[in-house]
């Protein structure tokens, strides 16, 4: 079973996000960059499948030079090799262009299964996995919490509104992850040492046959025209003083009589 995991480096979820001077991007100088948490689940699941079915795990990641650190983390977790797409002309690509680039790179990597995060917790687009599957003409099963492979088929659990669906697809297929799928392992010092010796190829758009004039910031279909901070709330009203039941009564009266929401 050859598995490719799509990995993206994103700001840590505890990072403070500030708008840059241009008004359409974020300040990156103070950000701590980490592996997208949903991709950690993807790497972990790939390693578990490889360890029971044999085969290989390849990390495919697009991003600037700093992404190497995240790729190294995936290799330190136990992935076998990596392909890093690093081309300044790809920067600022929207979801569809990103998926086109990844799908083009996947033409040179053998795979039976592709696993991606359900979304990257930067722009939260939920699009790249599905679009890669579409461009490769393979089935997708999104937001899975469990998988089982047998006889060239994969069966996945997915929690939807009010139900858990068990969805089956023929391989090759693309899965995206949901929390609950597994607990990603931590890297260990020996793992980190080994990762440095694992093969990592770096490619540019020309290597995978992508015309730079079809991707990148200037070719976005979805254009960011402004970033703004969410509106401030009106400030908190504290319910002070009195006994527990007086405080409770004051709250209920506010919600019921003033706000009429209960």
């Amino acid at each position: 079973m050859d598995i490719v995991v799509l990995v993206k480096q994103v700001p840590d979820t505890e990072s403070l996000i500030q708008i840059a001077g241009d008004g359409v991007s974020i300040k990156t100088d103070t950000i701590k960059w980490v592996m997208n948490p949903y991709d950690e689940l993807a790497v972990e699941e790939a390693l578990r499948i490889r360890d029971t079915q044999s085969g290989s795990v390849t990390i495919l990641s697009m991003g600037p030079k700093r992404s190497v650190k995240t790729i190294q983390t995936a290799l330190a977790m136990g992935a076998d090799k990596a392909v890093h797409l690093n081309d300044p002309q790809a920067e600022g690509s929207d979801s569809l262009a990103t998926a086109k680039i990844l799908a083009a790179a996947l033409k040179d990597i053998p795979y039976d299964l592709i696993i991606a995060g359900q979304r990257a917790v930067d722009q939260d687009n939920f699009q790249v996995g599905a679009a890669v599957a579409e461009y490769l003409s393979i089935p997708q099963i999104s937001q899975i919490t469990k998988e089982e492979i047998s006889d060239g088929k994969i069966k996945c659990h997915r929690t939807v509104e009010g139900a858990i669906e068990v969805v089956e697809a023929s391989l090759p297929a693309l899965l995206t992850t949901q929390r609950g799928l597994n607990d990603p392992r931590y890297t260990t010092l020996p793992g980190i040492m080994k990762a440095k010796k694992k093969p990592m190829e770096t490619k540019v758009l020309a290597d995978i046959g992508i015309d730079p004039d079809t991707v990148g910031e200037s070719n976005r279909k979805v254009k960011i025209t402004a970033l703004k901070l969410p509106p401030e709330r009106g400030g908190v009203t504290m319910i002070d003083g009195g006994s527990v039941s007086e405080k409770a009564a004051a709250l209920v009266s506010k919600l019921h009589d003033d706000l009429r929401i209960i």
């Binding site: 699009q127 939807v160 509104e161 976005r220 709330r233 039941s245 209920v252 929401i261």
Partner: protein
């Protein structure tokens, strides 16, 4: 020339999701301001008896794709059918609800049509004949305004954000020839969740617990059930195994926008706030007066939630008689 608005009205087992009425209402509002028609698409099996309902929420026309193979949501079948309808009708704007299925379908459809998609949109404005879409990024720490270039624009609207408005329109129902095409996935089993559990992302009231519960959610469950709401949890509570992952609210969990969010014993890490900051009213209960969530809340109470939550439940029982 593309024209008209197409709305995908999501139904499960012969009943529309609340989100379907939200997208229809928003579609109607936009159709009026763009002076164009609103067409609803209903995909499923045995749906003729509900097919007219979108008319109540503003659909001029309703297209049904009714086929046994469409009984359960299926990425390939639904994308094929919807892409076929889009080809036929050539709409300028396609609106879906950003449910689990809606997001899956919107993303695949966007790639199929090579069309720009705005996911989890919370506001649409028409400014100088251009649609401006607003959506949260970075888990809600930032709001982005976006424009989509190209012949067809696709938007998936976050559940529970847009208001439902009735407006009786003709709602002419037309059954289309459902072109199901190649299908490589199938739902082999469906495990329905117990009872009448309210879906967190659709709930009007959410009562959530965190570290401060010490793992005891009984009082929170009672309060949520009394209010007809859903129970949510912080990442800490989920990591401790106190609640299932499906209850997690936050940047790596569910994003909720209820009318009322009651946070019990949740300190309010940035990543939790990301999941609930678009709630219309936020109540924070915490024994630590410096808990960061107080700064995100509308109403705060400092105190022991083990005492306060049952006391609130008692007070609500009084007013409910």
């Amino acid at each position: 020339m593309s024209e008209g608005i197409l709305v995908v009205a999501e139904q499960h087992n012969g009943a529309f999701r609340k989100a379907a009425f939200e997208v229809l209402s928003e579609g109607r509002r936009l159709a009026d301001s763009m002076n164009t028609d609103l067409t609803a698409v209903v995909i499923g099996s045995g749906i003729e008896n509900i097919a007219g309902e979108p008319g109540k929420y503003g659909a001029d026309n309703i297209l049904t794709a009714d086929d046994a193979a469409l009984a359960d949501y299926n990425t390939d079948a639904y994308t094929n059918v919807l892409a076929g309808i889009v080809k036929l009708k050539n709409p300028a704007l396609i609106i879906l609800g950003a449910s689990i299925h809606g997001k899956d379908l919107a993303a695949r459809l966007a790639a199929r049509l090579d069309a720009g998609l705005v996911m989890e949109c919370i506001e649409i404005q028409l400014i100088n004949d251009k649609l401006i879409f607003t959506r949260p990024m970075y888990g809600g720490k930032i709001l982005a305004e976006l424009e989509i270039e190209g012949r067809t624009q696709i938007v998936a609207i976050r559940p529970n954000v847009m208001s439902i408005k009735e407006s009786n329109k003709a709602g002419r129902v037309e059954k289309v020839d459902a072109r199901i095409g190649d299908v490589n996935t199938s739902v082999v089993e469906k495990l329905i969740e117990e009872g009448d559990k309210i879906e967190l992302t659709e709930a009007d009231i959410v009562v959530a617990g965190g570290h401060g519960t010490n793992g005891d959610f009984a009082a929170i469950e009672e309060l949520a059930s009394l209010l007809g709401g859903a129970v949510g949890a912080s990442r800490f509570a989920v990591d401790e195994g106190w609640r299932p992952h499906s209850d997690q609210v936050g940047q790596t969990g569910k994003i909720v926008s209820p009318s009322l969010y009651i946070a019990c014993g949740i300190s309010g890490a940035i990543q939790h706030a990301a999941g609930m900051s678009t709630s219309k009213n936020i109540v924070a209960i915490n024994k630590d007066p410096d808990a960061p969530l107080f700064s995100k809340a509308d109403i705060g109470i400092v105190g022991d939630l083990a005492e306060l939550v049952p006391a609130i439940t008692e007070e609500i029982k009084k007013i409910q008689g």
